[in-house]
Amino acid sequence: MKKVEAIIKPFKLDEVKEALNEIGIQGITVCEVKGFGRQKGHTELYRGAEYVVDFIPKIKMEIIVSDEIVSKVVDAIEQAAKTGRIGDGKIFVTSVEEVVRIRTGERGEDAL
């Protein structure tokens, strides 16, 4: 089993959820993160003074999937999250040794 993590632009969340729904994926965990990268932060006006906020709000998605469908999941996220502009984000895949569905105690692929 694999964990697919994706750092994406916040406004892309629904589109990526759509794309995952198209391939039967419903279980996703999402959190709001701050990204530092090549995409520069924005300027903000605060008490009259303008200053650069050097981080960008991003969304981090985590999806645990079975091995056979990882590449399909990665492709779906990649296509849906892409704008072609700096800051589109990254996807990383790591190996998961065990998964448990707390409600039923199911383990492994049955928990997915």
């Binding site: 198209e22 391939i23 039967g24 056979e68 469908i69 399909k72 049955d110």
Partner: protein
């Protein structure tokens, strides 16, 4: 023949009625239901899915998918059925069972039409959508058996699920052809003889999504009730997986008691489109059956 057509409609409508009546009770215990509703026998809506009164769930929707798949193909084509399930899954249904989702996803992504055997796949997800198969294979026990297993294995590959589907299909077919309740009882007893865990007398009182618990609940209330309304009402008041136990007993009670006995007030609450489609698919399914094509 008209009577048969009406009974076939009663089977599919019985599923929808049981589903819609029970769905708001899903995950509640019989005690909680009694405390909140007394004896529930109206379509109240609500529940964990926040349903509208009369709204059906995956039990009826997957039944429709199977029916559509058979009628569209004009016969038995597993991939057409799997495709219907896939289209449905993508449509963001109100609810999808975990095992059903996994099986349909495997078909969508890998083209697989058979889930690997799995000790955890003895849920009621294949059983709950069996009724169109009972209509389509009327008159040919072997065909019922073959189709039940192939169709079940799209999502649930487990001997208990297989046995439950075949027994249920047989009982519906006997009822459609006018069998007495005692005859149906012998069929249930045959299942319990082969798989003792299905014994339902005394009734353990469990109405979970485990196919054994589900069928025990359905058998228990079917054989002690005297009307369609009593069958479905007592079942959903047992709580647990009430939409599915309700749908399953609704199917066999529809076959046994006929269309006239389905309470009008319940039918009226169902979505018009859903009712129309079920009413139109029923005769189409049975007209494809060996019972009618070979006579």
């Amino acid at each position: 023949h008209d009577d048969l057509t009406a009974r076939c409609r009663a089977v599919l409508l019985g599923v929808a009625v049981g589903d819609a009546l029970g769905a708001p009770m899903e995950f509640m215990t019989s005690g909680e239901i009694a405390a909140k509703y007394g004896r529930l026998n109206e379509m109240v809506g609500g529940g964990w899915l926040r349903l509208k009164p009369g709204q059906v769930t995956d039990d009826t929707e997957m039944t429709l998918c199977l029916a559509r798949g058979i009628v569209t193909a004009g016969g038995w084509d597993l991939r057409t059925i799997a495709h219907e399930f896939a289209v449905w899954l993508r449509s963001k249904p109100i609810d999808v069972g975990d095992t059903c989702r996994r099986g349909i996803r495997n078909f969508m992504l890998k083209g697989e039409t058979e889930s690997p055997p799995n000790q955890w796949d003895a849920g009621n997800g294949a059983l709950m959508r069996m009724t169109p198969l009972a209509l389509y294979t009327l008159g040919d026990k072997e065909l019922l058996q073959k189709c039940s297993i192939e169709h079940g294995h799209l999502t649930h590959n487990h001997p208990l699920s297989d046995a439950a589907c075949i027994c249920y299909g047989r009982m519906i077919q006997m009822a459609l052809l006018g069998a007495e309740k005692s005859r149906l009882r012998r069929e249930a007893d045959r299942l319990a003889a082969e798989y003792p865990s299905f014994r339902f007398d005394p009734y353990p009182g469990l109405a979970t999504g485990y196919v054994v618990d589900t069928l025990q609940t359905v058998f228990h209330y079917f054989f002690r009730s005297r009307s369609f309304e009593e069958c479905v009402t007592s079942t959903v008041n047992q709580g647990g997986d009430a939409d599915t136990t309700g749908a399953i007993i609704g199917g066999v009670a529809g076959a046994y008691y006929g269309l006239e006995e389905i309470p009008r007030r319940w039918l009226k609450k169902l979505d018009r489109g859903c009712v129309t489609e079920l009413e139109s698919l029923a005769p189409k399914l049975v007209s494809l059956s060996p019972q009618l094509t070979q006579s």
